[in-house]
Every structure is written in structure tokens, then in C-alpha cells.
């Protein structure tokens, strides 16, 4: 019995020491991690919807999806697109909609900027697991990705791939990814239209 007590004590002591050290490291790093996360989510949003506000002011206001009461699952050309969050630019230039949908390989998370005349101001893919060299080009910082995403600037909710009679050139070898990105852009614009008419 004594032995078990001793073992428990030693294990507990080591756990306590490790937890203590971790607590200290966490205190040092926590501010930087949260600062980085805000910066990152701002960067993803400014990429699709630039904002002009005086320095030190918050760039965006997050809107409460539940309180808005607008359906968050949108059917765009037969594909289900989920709206995860929406925030309003503080200089009144429009909205940034975060969409989630399945691409060719897995879930894609994409930011879409939409202005008040229901035109897309840009898209940016923040998370994906598409095939590298094919679908992953949609999110790539190389020319192929930048050019692909640039096509979405100014499109409206009727955006389609060229194959379906629209204006978007699909990425070579990645029609499924391209189509789902197109559908998500359309869904985001539809969502903002619903949002505006609800107000």
C-alpha cells in the first residue's frame, strides 16, 4: 500500500511540475498566438474585401448568423454550400462571407467578398485538401492560382464555368474543384442578397 502511495506521489509530482512549466510557456506565448490568429483572419478577409478605416480601428464587424435568421445552407447549381460566418466591412464597402463546401477531395473553406451591388470582390481559399498540382492550384500563390481566382472579381450570382456556358476558365485537370469554387461564390452572393433584403 505504501508503495502504491509513493508511486502515485512521484507521478503526481512530475505531472505537476510539467503542468507548471507548460502554464508558464503558455502565458508567454498566448498573446502572440491570439494576435497571430486575428491578424490571419483579417488578412484572409482583406484579400477579398479591402477596407479603409483609421488605424487602430477594427476592420470588420462579425454578424451573428443565428440572430439574422437567414438559411445558412444554400443550394447553388445543385451543390450544397454552407455559410459559416459573415462579417461586415466597417467602411461600408460590403460583406465577407465564409463558405464551407466539399471539393474534389475534401472540405474547402473559402472567403468571398461581396459588395452592395451583389458583385464578388474576390475569393480566397483558407483551407482545403485538394490534390497538389491539380485542385490545389485553386489556392496556390503561384500565377495559375492567382489568375484563376482573379476571374471571380466582378461576377454576379449567375457565375458559371465556361463548360456550363459561363465565364470562368476551369483549372486544367480540376473541373470538380473549379465547379465547387464557382458554386460557392454564387452561394455567397445569394446569401448577401438575402441578407440585404432582410434588413
Amino acid at each position: 500500500m505504501n508503495k502504491i502511495l509513493k508511486l502515485t506521489f512521484v507521478l503526481f509530482l512530475i505531472c505537476a511540475i510539467v503542468a507548471g512549466i507548460l502554464g508558464a510557456v503558455d502565458m508567454i506565448t498566448r498573446d502572440r498566438i491570439t494576435a497571430y490568429q486575428t491578424e490571419k483572419s483579417n488578412a484572409a478577409r482583406t484579400a477579398v474585401m479591402p477596407v479603409n478605416v483609421p488605424e487602430g480601428q477594427a476592420l470588420y464587424t462579425d454578424l451573428d448568423l443565428k440572430a439574422l435568421g437567414i438559411p445558412t445552407n444554400i443550394n447553388a447549381n445543385g451543390q450544397k454550400i454552407k455559410i459559416c460566418s459573415v462579417s461586415e466591412a466597417n467602411d461600408g464597402s460590403g460583406y465577407v462571407v465564409e463558405t464551407e463546401f466539399s471539393g474534389a477531395q475534401g472540405t474547402i473553406v473559402m472567403m468571398v467578398g461581396v459588395n452592395h451591388s451583389f458583385r464578388c470582390t474576390g475569393i480566397s481559399i483558407t483551407q482545403h485538401s485538394e490534390t497538389s498540382g491539380l485542385g490545389a492550384n485553386a489556392a496556390s500563390v503561384a500565377d495559375v492560382g492567382v489568375n484563376f481566382r482573379a476571374q471571380f472579381k466582378g461576377v454576379d450570382e449567375h457565375v458559371q464555368l465556361k463548360k456550363a456556358g459561363g465565364e470562368i476558365d476551369a483549372l486544367s485537370g480540376a473541373t470538380i474543384t473549379s465547379r465547387s469554387v464557382t458554386n460557392a461564390t454564387s452561394a455567397a452572393i445569394q446569401f448577401v442578397e438575402a441578407l440585404q433584403s432582410a434588413n
Binding site: I14, V25, T29, I33, G133, V141
Partner: protein, 228 residues
Amino acid sequence: MNFKKQLKEGVITNNPILVQQLGMCATMAITTSLFNGVGMGLSVLIILTCCNVAVSAVRKFIPDEIRLAIFVVIIAGFVTIVDLLLQAYIPALSESLGVFIPLIVVNCIIIGRAEAFCQKNPIGPSFVDGITQGLGYTVVLVVMCLIREFLGSGRFGGGLIDAAKGITLDGTGAGIQLFNSDYGASILTLPVGGFLTLGFIFAAMQAALKKAAKKKAEKANEEEGEEA
């Protein structure tokens, strides 16, 4: 134990991946760009060295029955420290390696070295062992990254070179494009490529070790012959 001998052991004759066959998961999963490979290798090197020293330092005080539990707690502690530091100071790396940083806890290399080496040896050699074994691990990761990157997408040094030049720090840069990526065998950048590349590196290593052993045997034979 001198440093040179331990270095040779860690990198070649007792390489953690190629000879001891430890820590496969991360080896195959993250070796898609040199940025990842070097980042993961160095993280493991640092954690391994710290754990080795810590385990070696407390080896006399811990009861034998619960030593594995204590090792795991120590390892998890260091892994979390590195994880938090990476998140704070090199967030791009922490994002790109994702769940594989916390999974270093169950990387058999670390607990394997603690069990096989550090609990029997003093702090000095344990420290050196951490560095040499970590180097051996990093070398294999780097080789895998180079092969998969070059054959898969015709690139060299993805992310790392751009990061070094200060262009993009997020590890997504293309590095140096050696040939058009359309001609690359993009299958090598997929999970399948991890299995295949590691398999071939293993085979090459076995062939080399066998050749060396044969040469040694021949040499020994010759010497014996001369003596006779």
C-alpha cells in the same frame, strides 16, 4: 563513447528510420516540401535532445514500475512547449505540420531512445545521442523531401528558399522550379508517394549495407589469406 562514433551510428548504422524502423508516420506524411521536412526534423531533434537529457537526469529517482508513464509525461511536456513556441513564433510551420507536431509524443523514436539509451547512460552521452539520432532522422526526412519534390513537381527547396530570402514566410513558396511541374509525377506528392519513396530509400539503404558487409567480409578473408 565518442562523438564521431555516435554520429556515425545515429546517421548511418543505427539510423532511427532506416535501421531501427521507428517513427514512420510523420516521415511519410509531412515530407512534401523541404520546409516541412527541415521544420519537422529540427523539432524532433530539439525535443529528442531535451527529453534525453531530462530522462537521463531523473533516471535514478524514478521507480521502475512507472518509468514509462513518467517518460510519456516528460515527452508530452516538451512536445507541448515546442508546439506552443512554434504556434507563436513560426505559425506557418505549425499550420503546415498540423496534428503531426503534437503527435511527436507517440513518435516511437523518442520513447525508444529514452528506454534503450538514456535510462542507462549519464547526461553527457544522452545529450549527444539526442543530437545524433535527431540528425539521422532529419537527414532521412530531407532526402525524402528532395526526392518527392523534385520528381513530383520539379521543384527544389519548396518554401524553405523563399522563406530564407524573405519573400514568403508561410512555407507555400514554390522554391526553385527546375522543370515544368506539368511533367512531374504528381503521384509522388500524394500520400502514395510517401510509401513508395520510403520503400525505395529503404531498399537502397539495405543494398548499401549489404555491399559494405560483403566488402568487409572479403577484406577479412583476404587478410586471413595473407596471414595464412
